[in-house]
């Protein structure tokens, strides 16, 4: 099918984009178009206006900070894979981004778009929750930061207002090794289940995605040396997860991805 008609605006800076969102209440931001345009092509989404932010070059930068990195909202997934600073400072971010779709999708899709879209199976929202990133948001009131852990509410739902723009993501450098693992049917598909595990000496946390309506992070302490016992410990943690009605399928996957992410954090394969 073809999209319904809309008015097209190209914003040349963030303030102008926010102004257009104020003025056109039914407008949507267009970033990489890799989630919005499929929905429009099938008329599952029919915004009356689009505010194209893809030309705002200030939003496409990756800048080092005292604590880690600041990613502009328009940084492309493939930039996260290729950028030496990302690979060095937050290797798990590059690794997770490499699992997003296919090359052509990663060349267009943006980090801000992925977070705003909030697909429950998306990699980047989970990375932001796991590492405790802050999402920098601009609306008519100005700029503010929303912790990623207070941003994702449920299926495709966030605390971002419809008149607000994500401008950047501030990411701390991880203090502990972080392992990433996901299960997919076919390379490039959305994950059936995935996890990031932060592995300190005797404490850490696991962040699941794809199994619940939004990423969930839980702390663990004193994991067993034995894999069998450890799997029982992961299983106990999954009892607090909301599997949205598909428990029999998702719980064992959740245990497996947590265990494998843990092994990767510990340097195994």
């Amino acid at each position: 099918m073809k999209p319904a008609a809309f008015e097209y605006f190209r914003a040349s800076n963030a303030v102008q984009a926010v102004g257009l969102l104020q003025q056109y209440r039914e407008a949507k931001i267009l970033a990489g178009g890799q989630s919005l345009v499929p929905l429009m092509n099938f008329r599952l989404s029919r915004p009356s206006a689009l505010v194209d932010i893809s030309g705002i070059t200030e939003l496409a930068r990756i800048v080092p900070t005292a604590h880690g990195l600041r990613l502009g909202a328009l940084v492309r997934h493939q930039d996260l894979v290729d950028n030496p600073m990302v690979r060095e400072t937050i290797p798990v971010l590059a690794e997770a981004a490499a699992h997003i779709g296919h090359w052509a999708v990663r060349n267009r899709g943006t980090v801000g778009g992925s977070l705003a879209h909030a697909d429950p199976a998306a990699e980047l929202p989970a990375v932001m929750v796991a590492l405790g990133a802050d999402i920098v948001v601009m609306d008519a009131e100005g700029e503010r930061k929303i912790p990623a852990r207070a941003f994702f509410v449920g299926f495709y739902t966030t605390t971002l207002g419809s008149d607000a723009l994500i401008v950047a993501i501030e990411m701390p450098r991880p203090r502990e090794p972080v392992g990433f693992y996901e299960v997919v049917r076919r390379h490039g598909d959305f994950a059936l289940a995935g996890a990031l595990v932060e592995a300190g000496e005797s404490t850490g946390a696991v962040t699941w995605f794809g199994v619940t309506p939004a990423p969930v992070r839980m702390a663990w302490t004193a994991l067993a040396e034995d894999e069998g016992l450890r799997r029982q410990q992961w299983e106990r943690l999954t009892r607090d997860l909301d599997f949205a009605g598909d428990e029999a399928f998702r719980r064992p996957l959740a245990v497996t991805v947590a265990e494998r992410a843990y092994q990767r954090a510990r340097g195994g394969h």
């Binding site: 097209y8 345009v37 499929p38 493939q78 090359w103």
Partner: protein
């Protein structure tokens, strides 16, 4: 009467103009406004890869890009831009020699994606070739012959890229 906007696109090295509605995809504008029918349209949701074109040398889905949103000066390469005066490129010749196509529906996207890969990575191994082509679906060949053809075309890229 829907309003159209005049846009200029740089396609295969040529500056072309078209009058477009904002909702028209780059794929549809290439096909219907500019008559470049080598860009195929399969799924219109980014999955099949048939509509793949190169933007400044990088593969992108032309079904997920509005033509009006293509930034000024971006170089678009379609399969029509892959012809040499003297005939087919080494990659295209390799596809023919290795039986890398049957119906040809996927072929433009395959050729452009493989060309972009080998331009960046003339030494790409079979794993990298498969990874890069994983976003291009083929219902005919079973992929192995396509992978073989791309691997066989590598020497041509080593020579071209100093």
């Amino acid at each position: 009467m829907v309003e159209t906007t005049r846009i200029e696109l740089l396609v295969n090295g040529e500056r072309l103009t078209a009058d477009v509605e904002p909702r028209w995809s780059l794929a549809d504008v290439l096909r219907h406004q500019l008559g470049l029918l080598g860009t195929h349209v399969g799924c219109e949701q980014g999955v099949c890869g048939a509509c793949t074109v190169l933007l400044n040398g990088e593969p992108a889905r032309s079904c997920l890009i509005f033509a009006v949103a293509v930034a000024d000066g971006v170089a678009i390469t379609t399969i029509e831009g892959m012809n040499r005066a003297e005939g087919m490129t080494p990659l295209q010749t390799a596809l023919r020699e290795h039986h890398g196509l049957q119906c040809g529906f996927c072929t433009p996207g395959m050729v452009l994606t493989a060309h972009a890969l080998l331009t960046r990575e003339p030494e790409a191994d079979e794993g990298r070739i498969r990874e890069a082509l994983s976003g291009n679906l083929c219902r005919c060949t079973g992929y192995q012959f396509i992978v073989d053809a791309v691997a066989a075309a590598r020497p041509a890229y080593r020579k071209e890229e100093p």
